[in-house]
Amino acid sequence: MNDRRVVITGIGAFSPLGMNADEMWEGLVAGRCGIDTIKAFDPVGFTCKIAGEVGEYNIRKHVPKYHRKATKLMSRDIELSVIAANEAVADAGLVTKATDPDNVTIDPARFAINIGAGLISCDLVELSPSVAASITDGNFDIGKWGTAGLEALTPLWLLKYLPNMLACHVGIIHDIQGPSNSITCGESGAYLAIGEAAQIIDRGSADVALAGGCEAKVNPIVMIRQCLLKRVTSASNDDPKTACRPFDADAKGSVFGEGAGMVVLETLDGALDRGAEIYAEVTGFGGSNSLNAAYEHLEPDGKGVRIAIEQALAEAGIEPGDLDLVIPCGSGIPQDDAAEATAIADALGSAVESIPVWPIKSMTSHTGAAAGAIEVIAAVMAMQKGTIPAAINCENKADGCKLNIISESVNKPVRYVLCCGYSFGGQTAALVLKNFEGQVNG
């Protein structure tokens, strides 16, 4: 069994708080909220009309010439992943086929990719002409669809919507020929992808990996699903900045959004050899299930989250009191926040009262499969800066919540961070990251 230490040497984040990780960090420090009225489509008729959307971009500028024709096969999820991946690769100082094909610094066969991806919803406007060609007496006619409707769709239509296509495009751009996986565990996908990628490196199946998560949730299908499941707040359409209130007594639901977060993972030895700046070490990884007959919510005691946290702490070989920061899922859905808070409190024991807890979805929105990666990147930056910014929108903690939600920013060394999350539908995840500064032998 290999026992290779795995470190993070590059980060890339494309979020409602900015085009890159630095802009996101500035937003988090300033307590800025990236949530606003939906622009992607007219949300009239939707109970929740707000979301976290990323700024404008021109995808062709982010894609090397040899892959530019393929931009027409990119759904928005794929585009966001390409942009964040480029940033992470550049930030790590890696030279790939995309950046300089003559001076590539990495063996493509030893390069892995692992992306947490969501269910990519079809573009309804793209489908509609086909539907329009399939109407009989004002109603949809499957018989016509099978001929005229189907033929009106572009031949490669399906390829835009396969969740593995994020890794496929990013992999072609950067020439990644090692193991490629696409974790489709909803909102916990990015944590699981990063955890698995670290283990792929640890076991020797690759030396470097791009890992993270990406999802573009701001489209009518995903948004109506959140509305129907009553996960979203409909109380703050006129006041988007205060809408998402994790662990707050006035929380009314989550606010969803879009984004992408990618990190570069590699062996400690490899990073030291090439003189890379090392941000953090991945030291603990846990995963479990929430078992709840009403599986659209966490089980009330959050046991599946607790087990994941306990596994991650045990693998990291630390006690709860060693943690300097917890970044929870904190969706802003009152009953799920209550369950998660219970899980964290049960896992951390008496240490829960003192460890700062920093929920960030109040600012970034809930970016689904991207959320875990964005939170890992926030953790890495907190370590780098020695700062834990203040949470927003949690003025009065919900009844029974024992978490120490951080209300004032603190400057202090951040050595160990716990990040945790859960999907709607069951899977839970937790990661422990360790600040690397001066810890070669640590």
């Binding site: 489509f41 008729g45 269910l119 309804l124 509609s128 539907v131 399939s134 109407i135 109603n139 949809f140 499957i142 669809w145 099978g146 189907l150 490669l156 239509w157 399906l158 390829l159 396969l162 969740p163 593995n164 296509m165 890794a167 496929c168 992999g171 072609i172 020439d175 090692g178 193991p179 490629s180 996986n181 696409s182 974790i183 489709t184 996908g189 699981l192 698995e196 283990q199 199946s205 009518p220 109506i224 699903r225 509305c227 129907l228 499941l229 009553k230 846990g286 995963g287 479990s288 299930n289 078992l291 599986y295 087990i307 596994q311 693998e315 999907s423 539908g425 069951g426 899977q427 839970t428």
Partner: protein, 434 residues
């Protein structure tokens, strides 16, 4: 020393039956799973037939069908396959106090599972009503009205690809490491492979691994038909899937769920459970070539096969049988043959390599694990399942594809290959356990 990983349970719901033995006996007696599509009206589609799971009744597999009432087809099938696999592996299901001696925190799940169908009636109705074709514009308020009126919250949730794993967790009470991946047609091979790694690492003692998927719905068939990936041999569904033949014209879309129970050798011995085979090798790679095509020199497939052989610490000469990806598409069967020849060299023609998809179709995310199960049975019974419908050999494809009839042969080590759209290549190697 890493834990050795063995298989102690098999479960299969597929177009040829709802349990492993029925499917296997069918494969050995010339049966297949192909018929005219009935799930929706496909009578005007380019492909009007498929490989559907027929007459499946979830209440025969669970005491608690209400818990799975809104399950999509894949999730529903995984309950049946999971229950069967657990029964064989002597794992208690649907109980708060299992008596099987397995700590639920040490029991995880890893599926290669697919999304569920959209709720077709309301989905298309909303578009039909809200789209103004003259203006080429959507009236979102009309769309929202129809959608809010017709969509059911849980039916929407059930479209998410992580739900089959959720249903399997509810069935078994698994609380260990759980993941679900969707690397297209290679997903459940990848899931089993990564699950093996979780046990080797010591992070779980038991993993329920496999896949579940159904894309037999209007948008799924539309997508594959537009890609011209499906056979359109509508006049002869039973002979449409003809991997490695000169006249192959695409795969036949199937659906199903396949589960293997993986356990550490130590745990299997401790519990005294029958060991069906050992998983000795896993290799994974990606093509990084084109969105639409496999690497033209089979680079990624070769890398995955070599990685699996290296992981298993065997050479190509040790492989007694290959369960191919064998989709019956022009490209896959040629590139896969090239990959085998590249790795096996002159020895390639001596290794029987057949395609189960000639009988049960292409189960997409679930297919890799279903085929792995046939490898376990080939070892158990020393019989090679055939490639059906192989009457006109492609002159370029000259391996021993075990044409048309099953064959008795000693099988100790078998390899199962899966290659997914987008270039993910995954290969598993299993071995007789003695």
């Amino acid at each position: 020393m890493a834990e050795r990983v063995v298989i102690t349970g098999l479960g299969l719901v597929c177009p040829m039956g709802h349990d492993v033995e029925t499917v296997w006996q069918g494969m050995l007696t010339g049966k297949d799973g192909f018929a005219t599509t009935t799930i929706f009206d496909a009578s005007t589609f380019p492909s009007k037939f498929g490989a559907e799971v027929k007459d499946y009744d979830i209440s025969r597999h669970t005491k608690n069908p209400g818990l799975h009432a809104y399950a999509n087809r894949g999730s529903s099938f995984v309950v049946g396959a999971g229950a069967e696999a657990c029964r064989q592996a002597r794992i208690d299901v649907e109980t708060d106090s299992p008596g099987d001696g397995i700590d639920r925190r040490r029991m995880g799940i890893y599926l290669g599972a697919g999304e569920g169908s959209v709720d077709n009636d309301v989905f298309f109705d909303a578009l039909a009503k809200a789209w103004d074709n003259d203006k080429q514009e959507m009236d979102w308020s009309v769309w929202a009205d129809v959608a809010f009126g017709g969509m059911h919250p849980l039916k929407e949730l059930e479209q998410e690809p992580n739900l089959p794993a959720g249903h399997l967790a509810l069935l078994t009470g698994a609380r260990g490491h759980t993941r679900s991946c969707l690397t297209a047609c290679a997903a459940s091979t990848q899931a089993v492979g990564e699950a093996v790694m979780i046990i080797r690492r010591g992070q779980a003692a038991v993993m329920l691994a496999g896949g579940a998927h159904s894309m037999i719905h209007p948008l799924g068939v539309t997508g594959f038909n537009r890609l011209t990936a499906l056979s359109t041999r509508n006049d002869s569904p039973h002979t449409a899937s003809r991997p490695f033949s000169a006249s192959r014209d695409g795969f036949v879309l199937g659906e199903g769920a396949a589960i293997v129970v993986l356990v550490s050798l130590a745990s299997a011995k401790k519990r005294g459970v029958e060991i069906l085979a050992e998983i000795i090798g896993f290799g994974s790679s990606s093509d990084a070539f084109r969105v639409t095509d496999m690497h033209d020199e089979a680079r990624g497939a070769v890398q995955a096969i070599n990685a699996a052989l290296a992981d298993a610490q065997v050479t190509y000469k040790d492989i007694d049988y290959i369960s191919t990806h064998g989709t019956s598409t022009g490209e896959n069967d040629s590139i896969e043959t090239l990959a085998i020849k590249t790795v096996f060299g002159d020895h390639a023609k001596k290794v029987p390599a057949s395609s189960a998809k000639s009988m049960f179709g292409h189960l997409i995310g679930a297919t890799g694990c279903a085929e792995l199960i046939t490898c376990v049975l080939a070892i158990r019974d020393n019989i090679l399942p055939p490639t059906k419908n192989l009457h006109d050999a492609d002159p370029e494809l000259d391996l021993d594809y075990v044409p048309n009839e099953p064959r008795k042969a000693k099988v100790d080590i078998a390899m199962s290959e899966s290659f997914g759209f987008g270039g993910q290549n995954n290969v598993l190697i299993i071995k007789r356990y003695d």
